[in-house]
């Protein structure tokens, strides 16, 4: 029998958690996108979703490596990605929600959910990277300066699709509206400032989440206008993935993502 890798415990100080939140959001979003690999509704979108996932994995890798340097126990990107337990993973809850239904009875949405989530996320990330490009930490500024170009292209592509579906047939518009109803309550967490944000902002690492809201809403509303979608009202629901408290879907996605490294510790391609 092979050994099973034991979980690592990250020393949580605010700058480390701040970077992990962004890294984990990119990583888990990418993991959901690649579930479409080989299943896209058309070949072009199959390629688009996996290409976007590739960019997001690249961004996550750079940030995880940086978080490892900040954290100080010498963890590398692979250990941080594959050996943390759920409570030490800090992505936005939105990105762990199932996207593609693997069967009729499986949880998840449809292609409209995917298009919409991509758009909401890429718009959020673009705002984040734009501000982080002026980070007081040279490494973060460099990662962000590169990532912002990628996020911009993702936002354009996903935004094109939001318009295409929203301004398409009655069926596509209805599906997009349903997807928006499902996604919207989770967007609250994207702009919820907490102590970690405040420390990061004061140190000049990057923006606090609430600073991203005005631009995000303006850009989202502009595309929604073209798509014939209304911006929903705010809801009181507040998800807590960025605190390490996740939805029921998180354990499954981590199990799938981590199982190989857990069973074959240090395994490499």
């Amino acid at each position: 029998m092979t050994a099973v890798a034991t979980s690592i415990r990250v020393h949580l100080v605010p700058p480390v958690q701040y970077v992990l939140r962004i890294a984990d959001t990119c990583l888990i979003h990418a993991q959901r996108l690649v579930e479409w690999c080989g299943h896209g509704p058309v070949l072009e979108e199959d390629i688009a979703l996996t290409n976007m996932a590739l960019d997001l994995v690249g961004q996550a890798r750079a940030l995880l490596s940086h978080a490892g340097r900040l954290e100080g126990q010498g963890f590398d990107e692979d250990q941080l990605a594959f050996l943390r337990d759920e409570r030490q993973v800090f992505n936005l809850t939105l990105v762990e929600q199932p996207l593609r239904r693997s069967s009729a009875h499986a949880p998840g949405g449809d292609f409209a959910d995917t298009v919409l989530r991509n758009f909401l996320l890429a718009t959020w990330l673009k705002g984040l990277w734009t501000r982080m490009a002026a980070s007081s930490e040279a490494d973060l500024a460099a990662i962000a300066g590169k990532a912002v170009k990628e996020a911009r292209y993702h936002q354009q592509h996903a935004g094109d699709w939001v318009v295409r579906l929203g301004d398409g047939t009655d069926e596509s518009a209805a599906r997009l509206r349903a997807a928006l109803e499902r996604a919207w309550p989770y967007t609250h967490e994207m702009f919820k400032r907490d102590a970690v944000d405040t420390v990061a902002e004061a140190a000049g690492l990057g923006p606090a989440r609430d600073a991203l809201q005005a631009d995000w809403l303006r850009e989202v509303a502009a595309v929604f206008g073209e798509a014939g979608l209304e911006v929903p009202a705010e809801t009181p629901f507040m998800s807590t993935g960025t605190q390490g408290r996740h939805s029921e879907h998180m354990g499954f996605i981590l199990a799938e993502m981590q199982s190989l490294q857990r069973q074959f510790p240090g395994g490499r391609w």
Binding site: L54, D55, K146, Q156
Partner: protein, 171 residues
């Protein structure tokens, strides 16, 4: 750098060696054409240092390129080599050399149009502005797919000669 010698300096020889290192995903381009070699440095009698910048955050060719660069410098007899990665300033397609752009075109890939550095945001729309067909030169083209066979390309089609072609996306 400016010391006059009859033999080429190690740095010049390293640059020449890098001319022969292809991008594994667009092999018609060398890593120099692509503009990803930012600097070649000499540390006394120590290793030659080659500074590379990645094209995309998740470009899967990054590791292969670093390895090929290492091999090429060693094969040129220039001694030990150290490859370092530099993220900032971020790579832009504006750094593809004029020779590189000509090679792309001859290979059937439309080079990036305009200047990426000033392109920035555009209004969301389904069809980007026309890209000239690398085969017949017509600007009457359309985009088939925003993403292509590698992170750096999109797929287009010429409406004049009907040929599909790849487009190197400006970033």
């Amino acid at each position: 750098m400016t010391i006059a010698t009859t033999a080429p300096s190690r740095i010049d020889a390293a640059w020449t060696a890098l001319d022969a290192v292809p991008d594994p995903e667009v092999p018609v381009l060398s890593v120099r054409d692509l503009g990803i070699v930012r600097e070649v440095l000499e540390h006394g009698d120590g290793p030659i240092e080659v500074v590379l910048t990645p094209t995309y955050s998740g470009c899967p060719a990054t590791e292969v390129i670093a390895e090929s660069v290492r091999e090429a410098v060693v094969a040129a007899g220039l001694g030990p080599v150290k490859v370092t990665q530099r993220l900032a300033p971020a790579w832009t397609t504006d750094w593809i050399s004029p020779e590189g752009r000509a090679k792309l075109l001859a290979y059937g890939i439309a080079p990036p149009s305009g200047s990426a550095a000033v392109a920035g945001d555009r209004k969301v729309r389904i069809r980007p502005p026309g890209v000239a067909c690398p085969r017949c030169g017509s600007a009457d083209t359309e985009r088939l797919s925003a993403f292509g066979s590698t992170a750096c390309k999109a797929l287009h089609r010429c409406l004049a000669c009907r040929e599909p072609f790849e487009y190197f996306k400006p970033i």
